[in-house]
Amino acid sequence: MPGHDHAVPHAGMGVLILSEPDRRAQFERLAMPLLDDAVNLAVWLTGNRVDAEDIVQESMLRAFKYLDRFSGEHFRPWLLQIVRNTAMTWLARNRSGRVVYMADAEAAEAVAPADTARAESPEQEMLRQDLTEQINRAVADLPVEFREVIILREMQDLSYKEIAAVIDVPIGTVMSRLARARKILMSVLPRYAS
């Protein structure tokens, strides 16, 4: 009996019974184009590509299994909700949910990248990278409940209503978390301070 997987939301009341080939075709049409979105969200939530890929793999198979439960119009929030819930379960099991900015992680692994030959002085490069790095770091440093609303709003371009559905809170909570998240970002990034 399907019905006890809490990561998978009921998107509507209708239940669709799909034959196996139909189900697969449906899945390839609806879910596979959203793979990048799923990976992006999972990496931002876990801060770790290896675990993010496991989470996405698990989420996609869940979405396939419970495809019947989706009967609504908006597939993307439904799929992202599964990814988010799976990632949250993973975070609760594994860590605090603090994210390491990927550039740092990659830099720590790579020994002195060989592109120092480019005609750019270290100062120039710092200036250029400054803003991008600062912003990525600031978002990565947000507590996960603020980070997720920022990613869903600014990177996945979801509406308040869709975000509310993905993280399962009232719309008012989405609005106050977004406001709080932006306030934190503006306080740590001096260029946006008043």
């Binding site: 990976v39 198979l61 990613i151 600014e154 990177m155 371009d157 503006m186 990034l189 946006y192």
Partner: protein, 257 residues
């Protein structure tokens, strides 16, 4: 809400996030004109927002993950019983395109009979954007290099548009196309704003006019005049986004040599 008085500073975030109705949005625009605090806050919020949209690292799925998911799925699809021959399919899509063109053409004509020149123009700009996005033919020349896009229009239209790349502001130039609006071939520059496409029609104009925003059928449309051109930008992005784009564009022009 008829006076717009109930919309104040508290609506700022909803405005930025495109969560206000067209009416509320207009009321908020009025409020902002007389509220210095909102003007400042809006500027900072829009800057943060467009920087986040342009600069946050986007992680993508690798080929291995894609393969691994597909191979973990239980069933493989059966081929369709009577696959259409490709010629047949091509004919069908041509027919679909033709009927779409007919619908668009007749609605434009009908529109022209009973609306102001500005409304007719706005509709033509929106139609151009819809034609391009529905057919998937968003640009004739695909390039993020303004030195490729600008000369491409040479000899194809009498308008030599100013072209700036706005990647640094989060709106990369992705190409250009030629479209016929009100019987004149005009350059259309195409930019990307996160997941959205922005089409910007450029035609000769005089004087300067501040950006005027309108929303129509879920699309945001912005008209302004500067540097001897009249610009019309349209997108399904929200109002805040297209206003931020205009700002980045104006700043980009100012920096041209």
């Amino acid at each position: 809400m008829s006076e717009g008085n109930s919309i104040g500073c508290a609506a700022r975030d909803a405005y930025i996030d495109g969560e206000l109705s067209a009416l509320e949005s207009a009321a908020f625009d009025l409020h902002v004109e007389g509220c210095a605090a909102c003007q400042q806050a809006l500027e900072r919020s829009l800057a943060l927002r467009s920087d986040m949209r342009g600069k946050l690292q986007r992680h993508e799925a690798g080929v291995a993950l894609r393969q691994s998911i597909l191979s973990a799925l239980p069933a493989t699809p059966k081929p369709a019983l009577h696959p259409m021959r490709s010629g047949q399919r091509q004919w069908l899509s041509l027919a679909a395109a033709a009927s779409l063109a007919a619908i668009l053409a007749s609605s434009t004509t009908f529109y022209a009979l009973r609306n102001s020149p500005q409304e007719v123009w706005d509709q033509a700009v929106l139609d151009s954007h819809l034609r391009a996005t529905l057919s998937g033919h968003v640009f004739d020349v695909a390039s993020s290099d303004r030195h490729t896009v600008k000369p491409w229009f040479n000899g194809r239209t009498s308008v030599a548009p100013v072209v700036v790349d706005l990647s640094a502001s989060g709106y990369p130039l992705i190409g250009g196309r030629l479209d016929i609006l009100e019987r004149t071939p005009l350059p259309v520059l195409v930019y990307r704003a996160g997941p959205h496409v922005i089409s910007m029609v450029v035609r000769p104009g005089t004087g300067t006019a501040a950006p005027a925003l309108m929303r129509k059928d879920g699309f945001a449309l912005l008209n302004w005049r500067a540097h001897g051109f009249e610009f019309s930008a349209v997108s399904d992005a929200d109002s805040g986004e297209i206003l931020a784009f205009q700002k980045a564009f104006a700043a980009g022009i100012a920096q041209l040599p």
